[in-house]
Every structure is written in C-alpha cells, then in structure tokens.
C-alpha cells in the first residue's frame, strides 16, 4: 500500500476530523449558531487529506467556497476555524471571513474563495514565488468540476504551462456544480483530458480511496518539485450533503445520495482497507474516533462560548498601514 502505518493513522485521523467537524458545523447551523452560507466537505475528505499529506507548511494551497476540509488537512487550527465559522473573536480570520473565507495563511492555506474560479490564478502566483525565490515549494489549487469551466481556471492552466511553475490543478469532480451535473457543464465530459490539452500531464484518481489519492497526489507533487512544471489531477467523488446546508437536492436521482454515501465513503473504505492490510486495528481506529469526537466537541463548545468581535475592529486591517 502507498501509506505506512503511521501515515495511514494520520490520514484516518485527518479524514475523521474533517468529517466530524463538518457534521458538527451542520448541527450548529441547524441550531442557528452559524450565520451565513455553509458548504460542507463531507464525503470528499480523502482528497484534501491525500494531497496535503504530501505538503509541508511551506507549500501553498488555495481553496473554494467548500474549504473547511482543505484548511483542516493543511493544518489549520480547528478551534480557530470553529470560532471563525461561528463569527467569534479568535477566529482564524478574526471573524471577518467566515466559512467561505476560511484560511490558515501561516500554514500555507492561502484562503477559501467564494468566487468560483478565483483560486487557480492565485496558485500560479504562489508557484511563481516558489520558482522565482527557489524555495522548492509547490502550489495546489483545489477546484470543483463547476469551477473547471471558469475562464480564470483555463487562463491559469495556460499561464502555469507557459511559465513552467510548480502548480497542481486538483479538480474535485463531485458530479455537481450547485444543481447542475458535471456531465452537462463540462462540455468535453472529461476534465483531466481537457487540462492535458493545455500542455501538462493530467492524472485521474478515485477520490474516495485515500491510498490512491495519496499515491496520485504524491506523483503530482514529485513532478512539481522536480521542476517539471504544472500538472493536473481529476479526482472523482460525491458530495454527502447538499450544495449548501439547506439544499433539498431534488436534482439528484432517487436514492442516489444514500447509495453513493455507502459506496464512496472514504472513511469506510479506509478503515476496511487499513484493517485488511494490517495498518490498523478496529480498536485503534475506534480510539481515534473517540479522540476526534472529544476534540471537535471541545472546539465547538469553546467557540460557542467565545464572544463576538468588537465593533471597533470594523475598520482595522483594510490596509496594512495608516490610510
């Protein structure tokens, strides 16, 4: 297998953390404790995890409106994230960003982005910094199947090829952009081969399998680190939740969600494979589950108790210096 025992346990913990985080956040949203819009990453955990395990804090990622998972996988502080999403003091973005702008800049997570297609051009820049400054870092943009059709994404791929920067365009194809099927919106029906036609290698992977995603992401990161320019990955997966919390998902087929949640549950797949490969015992995984549950509960409880940002902060940090 592509992961050794330690790595596997780490991967499992990260995925479980994301899953629990998302479900807790969903609950709190239902209780009215979270303002605004909420797009959850539940179901896609193996992708962020498989990629970010190949990255260090010196590598960069940019994310989407569905950014909690990317942020956690990149090492963002879960307590701060919970506070941010609940609009509290001490939040990752001081309460100014919220779910759609979750970030952990100090960890190289340069921010979620509520503009579909907003991230890919930015990652070209982060990768350009890496190349120009010779840091050996790579940049990864997480983009959806929907975002794969945005002009900014195409431009970013072409520019990355022209400049030969270490950028990875990771497309998470969860089948839908809001209520529109990827099979409709992606005219070519194939995100990877369209990316390849821009002049870079493009890989495909089953995004529900952490072993496969880790391996494929490793290939891509190695490619970039060795100076071979950009590369693309299309990871297929499903969304466990609606596009946003509150979405009735009537566009999905009868029983589709239920079926796919069973077939494509990366945590289930990971634990089955991990146990089978003797990378972990059931008990070990249960112990992680229990630890994560406590961890998330603490984060949520602390966040709930935190106070709102002070109104005096309204005009701070618009500019970096006196204005």
């Amino acid at each position: 297998m592509s992961l050794d025992k330690k790595q596997f346990l780490q991967a499992y913990r990260t995925m479980r953390t994301i899953r629990d985080f998302e479900y807790r956040v969903s609950d709190e949203f239902g209780k009215g404790n979270i303002p605004g819009f909420l797009h959850l990453y539940a179901g896609q955990e193996a992708i962020a995890t498989g990629m970010c395990m190949n990255l260090s804090d010196d590598d960069y990622i940019v994310s989407t409106h569905r950014g909690h998972g990317h942020c956690i996988a990149k090492g963002g502080d879960v307590g701060d994230m919970m506070k941010e999403i609940m609009a509290k003091q001490g939040g990752s973005c001081a309460g100014k960003g919220g779910s759609m702008h979750i970030a952990a800049v100090e960890k190289g997570m340069l921010g979620a982005n509520a503009i579909v297609g907003g991230g890919p051009p930015l990652i070209v820049g982060a990768a350009l910094s890496a190349k120009t400054l010779g840091t050996g870092s790579v940049g990864v943009s997480f983009t959806g199947d929907g975002g794969s059709n945005q002009g900014t994404t195409f431009e970013a791929m072409n520019l990355a090829v022209v400049l030969q920067v270490p950028a990875i365009f990771l497309f998470e194809n969860n089948g839908y952009g809001e209520g529109t099927a990827a099979g409709y919106a992606v005219g070519s029906k194939d995100i990877a081969s369209r990316a390849a036609a821009f002049g870079m290698p493009a890989l495909k992977v089953d995004g529900a399998d952490i072993f496969e995603t880790y391996k494929t992401c490793k290939k891509a990161v190695d490619h970039c680190r060795s100076g071979k320019g950009p590369i693309a990955i299309e990871a297929s997966i499903t969304r466990f939740r609606g596009h946003f919390e509150g979405d009735a998902q009537q566009y999905r087929g009868k029983g589709e969600v239920k079926r796919l949640m069973k077939e494509l549950d990366c945590l289930k797949i990971a634990s089955d494979l991990g146990i089978k490969q003797k990378l972990a015992t059931k008990a070990e995984l249960k112990a992680i589950d229990a630890e994560v549950a406590v961890y998330i509960d603490e984060a949520a409880t602390t966040a709930l108790a935190a106070s709102s940002p002070d109104v005096s902060e309204l005009l701070t940090d618009v500019y970096s210096s006196a204005y």
């Binding site: 303002p35 605004g36 819009f37 609009a87 509290k88 973005c93 309460g95 100014k96 960003g97 919220g98 779910s99 759609m100 702008h101 982005n113 509520a114 503009i115 579909v116 297609g117 907003g118 929907g146 975002g147 059709n149 945005q150 002009g151 900014t152 839908y176 952009g177 809001e178 209520g179 529109t180 099927a181 990827a182 099979g183 409709y184 919106a185 992606v186 005219g187 009735a248 998902q249 009537q250 566009y251 999905r252 087929g253 009868k254 589709e256 709102s308 940002p309 002070d310 109104v311 902060e313 309204l314 005009l315 618009v318």
Partner: protein, 337 residues
C-alpha cells in the same frame, strides 16, 4: 389587489413577458437547475427560486442552464441581443461582476454607440445585491455605482414588489442593456401587485412620503429604512420627504431638486462603500444644480470603507442603519452655519 412577494412579482414579470414575446429567453446558472442530472429539472429555479416555474412552462430552449461561466453568459446574452433575442441573463450575485464586467461595460453598453447607432442590445442582467445575510466579503456587495457610471447602461433598483414587476417589464421591453439589481433582503417582502402587466417608466422617482423639513433619498432597501425613520420622526413633528429614484440611470434629478428646493436639506442613503457611490453622485448633482436652495450640508449615509465583514456585529456596523439615518436627519436639521 393580490398580495405578492418581491420574488413572485419578479417571477411574474418574466413569465408574462415570455408569454407575450417569444424572443425573450432566460439564461444563467441553475436558472432551472438539474441539467444533466438524474433527479428533477427546475430543482432550483435560480439559487433564490426567482425563476422557478419558467422552465416547465417555456422549456429548455428558452430557459437555459449554463456552466459556471459568467463572461460567456453575459457575452452570449449580448450576442443574442444583437441578433434577435431579448435575453434576461442572470448574474447570480452582483459581486461576480468582476468575472464578466468586460462583456457588460465594454461590449453590451457600447455596441450601439460604437457602431454608429446601427446595433442594439436589448438585454436585461438580473442580479442580486445587498448585505445583511452574513454572506461575507464576496457575496454581499451592492455595486450599483459600478454599473451606474457606465454610459449605455440603464440601472434599476426596485425597492418593493410592485415596482419590481413594473420596472422589470419595462426593462425587458427596453432596447438597451438594463442592469436590474434585486436587493436580496427584499425577496420575502410583499405588497399589492396587480395580476395584469404594467410598465413603470425609467427615470421617474417615487415620492414615498411628502415632507418639508428634510429630503431623504434612499437606494435599494435603504429607502425602506429611510421611510421607517421618517415615520418615526413624524411623531416628533419632523417632516421628511422620502424619495426612491427607482432607477439610478437614468436618474430623476428633477424630482430631487424640486424636493430640495422645498426642504433645503438633503440626506442620501445607500448601502455601498462611500467612495464614488450613488450617494456621492446625487450629492454632487444637487451641490451643483440646487446649491441656492441648500441650508445644510448634504449628508451621506453609506456603508463603511472596508470589505464587508462576516461577523453579524461587524456587518451591522458596516451597513447603514436606521439609527444612522436618524442621526443624519437630526444633524442637518440642527445645522447652523
């Protein structure tokens, strides 16, 4: 008269115009929803349900779901408008202007002039603006000023269901590119809206309340806040003229001037950032054209000069509130040179 919500009124205007004129089409992201899916079509009817029901009635040749591709949507609408269709293109959130603005301000807005009057571009861009829903910095902006400044565009910002229907009908029938800015805070508000079709002319302000002490001009939902303030102040004997321009381009300058000539005092409210906004624009028009009537500083009540914060307490502080309007009214009344 039947009571309808702002959402229903907009929906009805589209449906009635589409029945009347087969060249009217709707195009945008999830304007029906469910394209290519195994489940239901018309699953969204627009992310806020405003276009719901149009797909079942008019079908996929006239209610067109697109990928996430705003430049191509606006461009396709502009190209279609030049060649025989009358597209209503949806820009889901006004914040997204940045990914398609060229097709609006350099293309649709300029065709007629650039081509010496030989082209026309009868399209409507329906979009949604406004803060208060905790949407954060990229889903809460009202950028009405950014389109109002563009010659060739007309800009409409309805503040109630009745106006929304009448103004949208006018917009669809207009032969220029019209930006129709829906305030997302108003979708659930309702009032009497006739079943028949009716058109409200552009450039004709609505006098919501007559008064003699202070003129208050409000844009989008801020005019409703202004009205609430005026109602309260009336109890104290302060008499406010409350004006809703309804369209910022063309702008009914005359009505505002007329009012200021009576009151001598002007407060302008919008929910945009302060620099180069609609409040600034109207202020400058009055400072130039009705200077002689002014008895107090023209006072702007706008949002703050910052991106829109997520936290409710901050966002509320960012937005112009009734208390800000009230304070401004009292200040201009209390002004002594």
């Amino acid at each position: 008269m039947p009571i309808k919500t702002y959402r229903q009124a907009i929906n009805e205007a589209m449906a009635q115009e589409m029945r009347r004129d087969s060249s009217v089409i709707v195009i945008g992201e999830d304007v029906a929803g469910g394209a290519g899916c195994d489940g239901e079509r018309d699953a969204y009817g627009g992310v806020m349900g405003v276009t719901k029901g149009l797909f079942p009635e008019f079908g996929e040749s006239r209610v067109i779901d697109t990928p996430i591709t705003e430049s191509a949507i606006m461009g396709a609408a502009a190209g279609a408008a030049q060649t025989g269709l009358r597209p209503i293109a949806e820009l889901m959130f006004m914040d997204f202007l940045g990914v398609c603005f060229d097709q609006i301000y350099n293309q649709a807005a300029k065709f007629r002039y650039m081509f010496g009057g030989k082209a026309q571009c009868p399209m409507v861009v329906r979009t949604m603006a406004g803060a208060g829903l905790r949407g954060g910095a990229q889903h809460s902006q009202n950028l009405t000023q950014m389109v109002t400044m563009v010659p060739g565009l007309k800009v409409v910002c309805p503040t109630n269901a009745y106006d929304a229907k009448g103004l949208l009908i006018t917009a669809i029938r207009d032969n220029d590119c019209v930006i129709f800015v829906e305030d997302k805070f108003l979708y659930e508000t309702s009032c009497d809206v006739p079943d028949e079709m009716y058109a409200i002319s552009f450039g004709e302000a609505n006098f919501l309340r007559e008064g003699t002490d202070v003129t208050i001009v409000g844009i989008s939902n801020t005019v409703n806040k202004a009205l609430a303030v005026a109602d309260r102040l009336a109890a104290e004997g302060i008499s406010c003229d409350v004006i809703d321009p309804r369209t910022t381009s063309p702008l009914d300058e005359e009505s505002i001037i007329e009012s200021v000539e009576v009151t001598g005092r002007l407060v302008i409210v919008d929910e945009m950032t302060p620099r180069c906004g609609i409040a600034a624009d109207i202020s400058s028009i009055i400072a130039e054209k009705a200077f002689g009537a002014l008895r107090a500083p023209i006072t702007k009540v706008t949002a703050a000069h910052s991106p829109i914060p997520f936290a409710p307490a901050l966002e509320d502080a960012w937005m112009p509130q009734e208390s800000d309007i009230e304070a401004a009214v009292r200040a201009v009344l209390g002004y002594v040179r």
